[in-house]
Amino acid sequence: MNLYHPHSRRQRARGLYLTMGILMGILTVAFFRLQVLRSDTWELRAESNRIRQLPIPAPRGTIHDRNGRVIADNVPGYAITLLPGPPDSIRATLNKMSQYMEISDERIESLLAFLTRYGRQPLVVDSDADFPVVSALQERRTEFPRVYIEMRPRRRYFGGEAAAHVLGYVGEITANELTSIDFSQDLYEQGMVVGKAGVEKQYESILQGRRGLKYVEVDARGRIVGDFGAFRVDPGEGGESLHLNIDIELQEWIHDIFPKSLTGAVIALDPEDGGILALYSNPGYDPNDFVSGISTELWQSLNADNRNPLFNRVVLGLYPPASTWKLAVAGIGLDLGVITPDEKMPVACTGSYTFGDRSYRCWDPDGHGFNNLAEAIGNSCDVYFYQLGLRIGLDPLLRRSTEIGFSRQCGIDLPQESRGIFPSEREFWEQRFGYAPREGEVLPLSIGQGPNSQTPLKIAQFYLALARDGTAPTPVLARGLEIGDTWALDLDPGHMEALREGLRKVTAPGGTAHFGTALEHWEVLGKTGTAEHGLSQAGFAEPHAWFAGMAGPFDGPPRIVVVVIVEYGESGSAIAAPIMAKTADYYLRRKYGIPTDSVQTYLDHVQIGPVPTWYRERYPAVIGAIR
């Protein structure tokens, strides 16, 4: 048979047609499956290939003070963002970018860790870049295909250091925060700026707003080709603005008058509602330094500073309340009926008091003789209060003080607050000092020493109750916020007046704080305190100086409560009291429309000139005595 006979050729041709048909059939089926049956999936895939979500950062809510003044707002800034891509190429891009901007190795590692974790989200390399960096990268746009520079609102704080401890500061969200339940996955992503301290942290959820989303098309190298119009842009929502009870001008005033060389705290409350008019802790820091990511050097120096500028003394500092506490003992004594306001203690003050085999000193070695309650408060007579404490007895004193709430937090709207330390029962001594309390423990406790430490905030709340009717709402920063838990001293209103009479004696002629607190327009009531602590008892440092008080027009109720503590300030009357009076005067003058003046107290006046007329007229007897 001929090999190439037409018949055998045709036969073989059939085999070839078959082979060809099978192979082409396979291809056709493959295309049919891909393009007809499963086209939807691949279309989706093509979209996700080239469409990227980009967040539109929401401007953070502005913060206003009680008079509507803006104390924190936003200015336009730039963020440098990197579209996600293969880790190797991201690493290469970051390394290349580090020629033009500061990116630490840790930063690169954490960004890559984030990339492997979240994959499709853009990486924020710098949430607030400096303009030279931005322009350097813009000029080299083609070298950095994935780099995307966006406008991003940047936080700006007014008032600088003055309001630092109120406002706190913002910073980039950390990896730990991102995984914590406080920051929901829906709202937060890497590179976002969140509140780190103060009101910024406390009201993060209100201030943050909701970031928007837009869609862009990118090419295979991650270059943004343009906006993708098919999906609607979600513009997001700016954060809500926040109104504070703070009076920023008062805050700045306090910053001006507080002695720069000393550390301490001032808090001012509005007796009306417990609103915080000022909350000041010295030293502070400038929150603006934190906005662009604080430099390592500055951060280290802030942390290494032994004056501890990041420490908010108002809510975190714990100090022996010293004589400011005597009002609490007096209140408890009246309440329990162990004394009456006019009653005098059987033992006269001769500069010390003997209990058991020990002698307890009064602060004034000359002694105060026989005092009634108001006089004892006015003179801050320790001997009177030793006897009062003994009359109350250790257990009732512990029980009532605890009931009143001296070992609780106030519940201020700040992220952190220290709890006051006060023994609630006798076991406290055994647990802490390893011995059962002796009867004499009640003596230091009744003059505000011993195992008793309170925050300036707590003392302020206590004096708030004294300035009111014995109740004190929780001091709050946010306007209109009411924290239900109102503190009630449960004291008889008649007794309240007796206590205030004592406070009036402190600032009256002859009282411990008269000259530093005498003001032209306002009546000041208050109590000094000289808080002995470990270092001062050993003779290494001066005691802390307290002044807790209230002020208002002569013919009305107190309109401001101010508590001042100056660490190692030595004297409540000489150092702390004038700060309190000047704070109150500045606030009240503005409240009542009287021009402010930096010469305020009697002391201020006599340092620069003659005794002011208003003082002569009010206290002629004192002038006579001085002459």
Binding site: L3, Y4, P6, S8, R9, R10, R12, A13, G15, L16, Y17, T19, M20, G21, L23, M24, I26, L27, T28, A30, F31, F32, L34, Q35, V36, R38, S39, T41, W42, E43, R45, A46, N49, R50, P86, E217, V218, D219, A220, R221, R223, V225
Partner: protein, 411 residues
């Protein structure tokens, strides 16, 4: 008119179909250059391809007039020359563009060409001459040995470049021509069996089962084969299974990856699987109607690799949809079918063998190229005849066409 055409083109329907396909290819190359960030290479590729097209048509007109005797005469020298070229390619060859790592091109001045393209047609001619002198079918392994060597020599040289795609084309040539020369299908399958053995050796159990099946098969057909042939086939399979591992290890990483990715592209979607996934995304998102000529987004935004050369058919899929791909496949079927038809019509063994060699080469190119865009075949750098960008390839395809038409009509 028709007679005029027949006189000029000899096989008007085939030549016009190829002409139309080349024009279509030109349009697709133009479209492949329409990207959001234009670059000179892809943007002007269609103009260069057009120039080559003109050259190719001129070459066609010339070659189609060359007497078959001349073509027969030129077979041996051209084969010898192409072997020499392939050897020198291995020594002085360069890579081009994305295939920079391989030695496939010979550069003369600014002109570079792929010697394996010449080797393909030369091998076809030479093998056709050799086989056409036989009067008996190739019935035994012994008969096949010498012709297999003729193809094996250039095949191995091309494999060393390494150019897996063209190697496969040589395989296609070999099988198509052997088949036309009357080799029983069983024998062809047995020859191909070591390749299967090689592939199956990744799993010892499957491989053992395969060897047992092979031995049983040989026993059933023991009367059709000599004993030593059967033993040879088994030994070849055993050898293939044994060398599989060392051979695998000798493959370049990118070649290993291409095979692994063929099995599962998602193994490495950013790396080796990238091309395949992007191609499938392009083709799949084309749907039935396609995104429109020049409008494919995968192509426009650079996701598609090698869009004007090896993955040109992905552009077809993305922009013209299933209608485009189905029509494209149909056009290729027509062209291949005409070749078979021509071979069937011509009584001359040499002519039939030449046409079949070209058929085998083109079928391999078409199946492998189109198949790889949708993951039916592992990705190998192999162009699509008449459509892919590439000057010498287009020229040689047209010359092959001319030779096929010429020998079929004169023979």
């Amino acid at each position: 008119m028709t007679r005029q055409l027949t006189k000029w083109l000899l096989e008007p329907s085939l030549v016009l179909a190829v002409f139309a396909l080349t024009c279509f290819g030109l349009a697709m190359i133009y479209s492949a250059g329409v990207v959001h960030i234009p670059n000179d290479v892809t943007q002007n590729a269609w103009i260069r391809q057009g120039t080559w097209f003109v050259l190719a048509v001129i070459a066609f007109i010339v070659v189609v007039r060359v007497p078959v005797r001349w073509i027969e005469w030129v077979a041996l020298p051209s084969y010898t020359l192409s072997i020499l070229l392939l050897v020198s390619t291995l020594v002085v060859g360069t890579g081009v563009g994305t295939a920079a790592g391989v030695k496939s091109f010979i550069q003369i001045g600014s002109f570079s060409f792929q010697s394996s393209e010449i080797a393909k047609i030369a091998t076809i001619l030479f093998l056709a001459r050799f086989l056409s002198q036989r009067k008996d079918p190739l019935n035994s392994v012994h008969d096949l040995l010498l012709p297999a060597l003729l193809v094996g020599l250039p095949l191995v040289l091309v494999m060393l470049q390494p150019d897996l795609g063209t190697t496969m084309a040589f395989g296609g040539i070999l099988f198509a021509m052997f088949f036309w020369a009357g080799t029983p299908v069983i024998l062809l399958l047995l020859i191909a069996s070591p390749v299967l053995g090689l592939m199956l050796s990744y799993d010892t159990i499957i491989w053992s089962g395969y060897i047992v099946a092979l031995v049983g098969f040989l026993y059933l057909f023991r009367y059709r084969l000599l004993l030593f042939e059967s033993i040879g086939v088994v030994l070849a399979n055993l050898a293939a299974g044994t060398v599989a591992q060392p051979l695998w290890n000798r493959l370049a990483i990118y070649q290993q990856n291409r095979i692994l990715v063929f099995l599962d592209p998602e193994v490495d979607p950013r790396g080796a699987g990238y091309q395949l996934i992007q191609s499938k995304v392009a083709v799949g998102s084309g749907g039935v109607m396609g995104q429109g000529f020049t409008l494919g987004s995968q192509k426009r935004y650079d996701f598609l690799p090698e869009q004007h050369t090896d993955f040109i058919f992905s552009v077809v899929g993305e922009e013209l949809g299933f209608i485009g791909t189905a029509l494209g496949i149909l056009a290729f079927c027509f062209i291949l079918g005409r070749l078979v038809h021509m071979a069937t019509q011509t009584p001359d063994p040499f002519a039939g063998l030449v046409v079949l060699g070209i058929f085998g080469a083109w079928l391999t190119h078409i199946f492998v190229n189109i198949g790889m865009t949708v993951g039916v075949v592992p990705i190998t750098g192999i162009p699509l005849p008449f459509v892919s960008y590439g000057g010498t390839f287009l020229l040689m395809c047209w010359i092959s066409l001319a030779i096929a038409v010429r020998v079929a009509h004169e023979g």
